[in-house]
């Protein structure tokens, strides 16, 4: 089932300088990571999906609805975007109010909004901090509050912009867990991210954007096997993949567990 349909999407901030050069993609339910260097057009693409920018050419349909006919706010119940910098968003005086802001905006009644907010806070492990002032939280906790504030709106599609930046080990584990739960709930989870280890372990589909076009589109194993392509796009591979190759393996390992199993001889021979 196609959740997002993008046809020949093009965009320029200034006339003559195309940032996106005609992208055609369909997104079904597979969790997707969009990777690419800074300047490749990833953030612009995501803003277009969210209706924050209007394309210079092409069409986007979200769950069958044409984005061109809706404002960004009107799209909020269907597609959520967690911004990179929590300080660009947080303004309420309690964590709970902050997380309730989104649901209230899209018309959920206050009682249900509070339930959804608490549920979302539980998912990110911050339910006990609900009454605190968000400004008293650390940067990584604030990022989790932002994720909760979008999760509480229960959109079918969630996009996370660099969720693992500034997170320590525990924070990254929380983000991983939240993505897992969202996938279980059947949501389409998308992310813009630089952490290749995280991509390989958590996402079913990887799209490489380079200079405004789609350079590659496939599952992580396919994508991370294409060394020259990744080099051309200025991207790296997960550490475990590199380790496997340096040992002369032909297989592209995506997770530590896989590698370990293989080393113990539990998997098929991959020499």
């Amino acid at each position: 089932m196609t959740r997002i349909s993008v046809k020949d999407l093009a965009f320029s901030y200034r006339p003559g300088e195309e940032v996106l050069k005609g992208i055609t993609l369909d997104f079904d339910g597979r969790s997707t990571a969009i990777i690419g260097q800074n300047g490749s057009g990833k953030t612009t693409f995501v803003k277009l999906l969210k209706g924050l920018l209007k394309p210079t050419r092409g069409e986007i349909h979200i769950l069958g609805r044409p984005v061109s006919e809706m404002t960004a706010a009107a799209l909020a119940p269907y597609i959520g975007l967690v911004f990179q910098n929590p300080n660009d968003q947080i303004f309420k005086s309690t964590v709970l109010d902050e997380v309730m802001f989104g649901p209230l905006n899209i018309g959920v009644d206050p009682k249900r909004a509070k339930e959804k907010a608490l549920h979302a806070l539980q998912m990110v492990g911050l339910a006990e901090r609900a009454a605190e002032n968000p400004q008293d939280l650390s940067l990584s906790e604030k990022k989790l509050v932002c994720i909760a504030s979008i999760v509480a709106m229960e959109p079918e599609i969630l996009i996370l912009d660099e969720p693992t930046i500034a997170q320590d080990h525990a924070g990254t584990a929380t983000v991983r867990r939240v993505i897992g739960r969202l996938k279980e709930q059947g949501k389409l989870v998308m992310t813009i991210i630089h952490d290749m280890d995280f991509v390989a372990e958590n996402f079913e589909r990887v799209i490489i954007l380079h200079r405004g076009t789609v350079l590659a589109d496939g599952d992580p194993r396919e994508i991370f096997s294409r060394r020259e392509l990744l080099e051309r796009a200025g991207l790296g591979v997960p550490h475990i993949t590199r380790l496997g190759w340096s040992l002369g393996r032909t297989k592209t390992y995506l997770t530590e567990a896989e590698f370990i199993r293989s080393m113990r001889g539990e998997g098929a021979a991959d020499r």
Partner: protein, 255 residues
């Protein structure tokens, strides 16, 4: 908008004049017509200021400012022409909107003065790089810290505008409607103020730390990367302007 300056890049004599002298010119151009309030003097100064603007070849860039000023001045002419207390001699018009000579004369006086002042300011703003002006002020004793504040306004403000746009996007993404009628936009204001203020404060603090560790409060003589600029006729101009100012005072005192 990466930077925020009205400076027009051209190579005229005016551009090469010491910014301090341009400030002095503004002072003189404003004070002399005030000290010697005759119509002739005001008119003369207006012509001088406009001529200097022409010499700097920035007349075209002055148009938008003058256009705005004229809109305001038209109101002045109307109000003065109709309602000036000293009105006696009707010139034209129909009851109750009759234009009187005295009122129009007064309006003309105001118009000429305003054009003079605006032109003098434009002369500074359009022909001077903000960084050059601040450098001159700091070289002459302005606190470098205050100089920094003045310098940074031109680039930090556009950055804040950019951040505000990002904040707007973040709230729109959460269902805050910002597109629509006036009431909708007004309601959208509050959720934007909080993060804008907060992020400005956070950025300001981070910047303050970065400045601090680069000797912002260093006690002692500072030095300059750029060579001290020699401005043509700097002393002569300064002396000349002060002389004119002095003469005006003397003339007034002597009656």
């Amino acid at each position: 908008m990466k930077t925020f300056s009205l400076y027009v890049e051209k190579d005229s004599l005016i551009h090469r004049i010491d910014p301090i002298n341009k400030i002095l010119y503004i002072l003189t151009a404003v004070s002399v017509p005030w000290i010697l309030p005759s119509m002739a003097v005001s008119f003369l100064w207006m012509l001088i200021s406009l001529a200097l603007l022409a010499a700097a070849r920035v007349i075209r860039q002055s148009f938008p400012v003058f256009a705005f000023v004229f809109l305001v001045l038209i109101t002045v002419v109307l109000i003065q022409g109709w309602f000036y207390p000293g009105n006696r001699t009707p010139l034209f018009g129909a009851e109750p909107f009759v234009f009187y000579a005295e009122g129009l004369m007064n309006a003309l006086r105001i118009v000429v003065r305003v054009i003079n002042i605006v032109a003098a300011f434009l002369l500074l703003v359009l022909t001077t790089k903000p960084a050059d002006l601040v450098e001159e002020l700091v070289r002459r004793g302005l606190s470098p810290r205050l100089g920094y504040v003045l310098d940074s306004i031109f680039q930090i403000l556009p950055q804040m505008v950019k951040t505000t746009r990002t904040i707007m996007d973040a709230q729109r993404s959460r269902g805050l409607e910002t597109e629509g009628n006036l009431w909708v936009r007004v309601k959208a204001f509050l959720p934007l103020i909080g993060p804008v203020v907060m992020s400005s404060l956070i950025h300001a603090k981070e910047r303050a730390l970065a400045l601090e560790v680069r000797g912002f409060h260093f006690e002692g003589e500072r030095t300059w990367l750029r060579e001290k600029r020699e401005y043509p006729y700097s002393r002569a101009l300064r002396a000349g302007l002060l002389l004119v100012l002095g003469l005006a005072v003397v003339w007034r005192v002597l009656g």
